[in-house]
Amino acid sequence: MKLSGARILLECLKREGVDIVFGLPGGAVLPIYDALYDFEGLRHILVRQEAAAGHAAEGYARTTGKVGACIVTSGPAATNLVTALQDALMDSIPIVAFTGQVPTHLIGNDAFQEADNVGISRSATKHNYLVKDGAELSAIIKEAFHIASTGRPGPVHVDLPKDILVKEWNFDYPEHVHLRSYNPTYEGHPGQIKKAARALVRAKRPVLYVGGGAISADASPELMELAELTQIPITQTLMGLGAFPMAHPLSLDMLGMHGTYYANMAVHHSDVLVSVGARFDDRVTGRVDAFAPKAEIIHIDIDPASISKNIKVDIPIVGDCKRVLAKLVEAVREELRAYPAGVVREARRQWAEQVGEWKRDQPLRYEWSDDVIKPQHVVQEISNLTNGEALIVTGVGQHQMWAAQYYRFRHPRSWCTSGGLGTMGYGLPCAMGVQAGNPGKLVVNIDGDGSFVMNSQELATCYEERLPVKTVIINNGGHGMVRQWQRIIYKERFCAIDFHGSPDFVKLAEAYGCTGIRATKPGDVVPALEKMIATPGPVVLDVWVDKDECVYPMVPAGGANTDMILAPPSREVRERAMKSQTGF
């Protein structure tokens, strides 16, 4: 069957199970949009800026477990998309991005809207392709989806010259992909798993440390089984939130720079630390030589390059988290049969007592005020009103950390945040993708006033495409996280952080055809949130919060996790924090 390259692309997308594609047309991809005109079975969502197409695809992918897809044109569109590609790379989100390219005979000619797309995206993707021969188009697309979704997931970029899209080619969709150079390991090594099981059963102070990989692998049931079987407390990274229900007595909540006191203390004092699909990021470890200094470290990860990259690992297990955990549960059961149960139970009882003491001593907390709204309170109420069942998306900054700390997650794939890259402006476009992939579900974008305006134009997409995203702006009148650092570490030399000309977000929402609500007093919060949830269509709720509120606990950059600051610091603590910041 002979079809145009553009039609082949659409046929391939359909066969890959893509039902929604996010995009923005332009010169080089016009053939695709022409083919889309009368193509059935593919919903196109027109975004207002290309990065938004990428973030929307990320949100779609993270919450549905499918591969996200987006199409943008050449040159400036492709360069705009790069941030989203890098974001997906850092957070291991499977998306396939298509960009237009000038016709093959013009490549390298400095043609109109030309950029070296694959050269630019090379380091921001798991893999990329420039299609030079239309006969290879369908095989390349098949490979792209395969690579994006297998092994450690990630973004794949396919650059499509216009003439390839226009000309007709033989369409023959390959059933299978065979890549001799790409064979991810899924099954963990049985010997290593046995070793890990031995260490776990004999451990006196074990901790599970779970990251985004556990969510990508849908490993939550196995995780629960392992945690309960061996009564191991479990902490989650920013990317891992939702992998384990926070209400569970074994949950230690988030660890790291803005993690809980009890999570960081438990990890610090652990004798066996099991990392599941997490990569010992610097925001998690703090100073590496002071991270879990007494622990034997077991690391389960599908990406061998993540193992022993930042922290020396004692028992590495390369494999898919779900399969390895299932085998590990079996191995632990076996091991428990051979080991006196009373000894294990007694060790766990003592450890649980210690962890419980840390939890009681230093719970997450903030000071209530009757005059100004505390941002943590807003997140708490969102959590209460939605019963932890909403799909939560954030921007980047203080509000993101408060959302991570105070929203009580119950399910995996209910949380999207820009963890690795820290892309401000991620919230609204990502929430669009989440809503498109999960119609009928409540999607709440907890955003900051700085973050939100970086992509607020997407309110138009929400309105037009009937995506009823609820945005809560934690409005503190500036770049709060920067303000916090300038306050604690830079001697209150506040610079370039306050907004003196922010728009009226209620009017802004209304200008886009959405509903705007405002809350300025603590008493407004619950009614405003209730109204937001009850209002159909996209809503922006502008909450004026205490601009001086800081995120605690906080580990100063370069400090050890045990150096965490728990409350507004004294002068002495601030000076120590200043000294400990190295290399940031």
Binding site: V118, R122, S123, R180, P304, A305, S308, K309
Partner: protein, 196 residues
Amino acid sequence: MSEGEKHTVAVLVENKFGVLSRVAGLFSARGYNIESLSVGETLDPTVSRMTLVVRGDAFVIEQVIKQLHKLIDVIKVTNLSEEDHVEREMLLVRVNAEPSVRAEILRSVDIFRAKVVDVTPSSYTIEVTGEEGKLDAFVELLRPFGIQELVRTGKVAIARGPKARLRKVEPKLGKPRGNGGPDPKSQDPKVVGFAD
């Protein structure tokens, strides 16, 4: 920065457009030190082989190898420095060669088993292959005559044959050739490599 030891790494890659930039890009993006890189086709025209010389401690080299492996177009990565291997590099040099010094230069060429590949009334162009140290020494010898231009290929390297097998064959290597008929094992090209 020149911390750590030199490692010679052989990388088999798909012979595709853009692979070289992926490998080179990896090194610049992750801040690894690459001392030389050479690339050429293998017996299979769809596969190219790169020889990289990288400097770093064991920790860095482990990461380099893992990260190379992570590239989709990389088929196989071998740290040749961990095993017995042969390394060679080629150098082309054009040196001033006035009649009065020609004999002296030719003596060095002879000693180094180099070759004069082009002559003009005032210069020689010389080709020499060998290990890095040999080439360095040769360059030092020529320097006083005035080097006009110099180019080196970067290292290529290959593993020697399997050790266990060589140990078995080793005593026979000492015997005079042709004694007692052809020994099938000494015909093995891998064994010839060991004698180099």
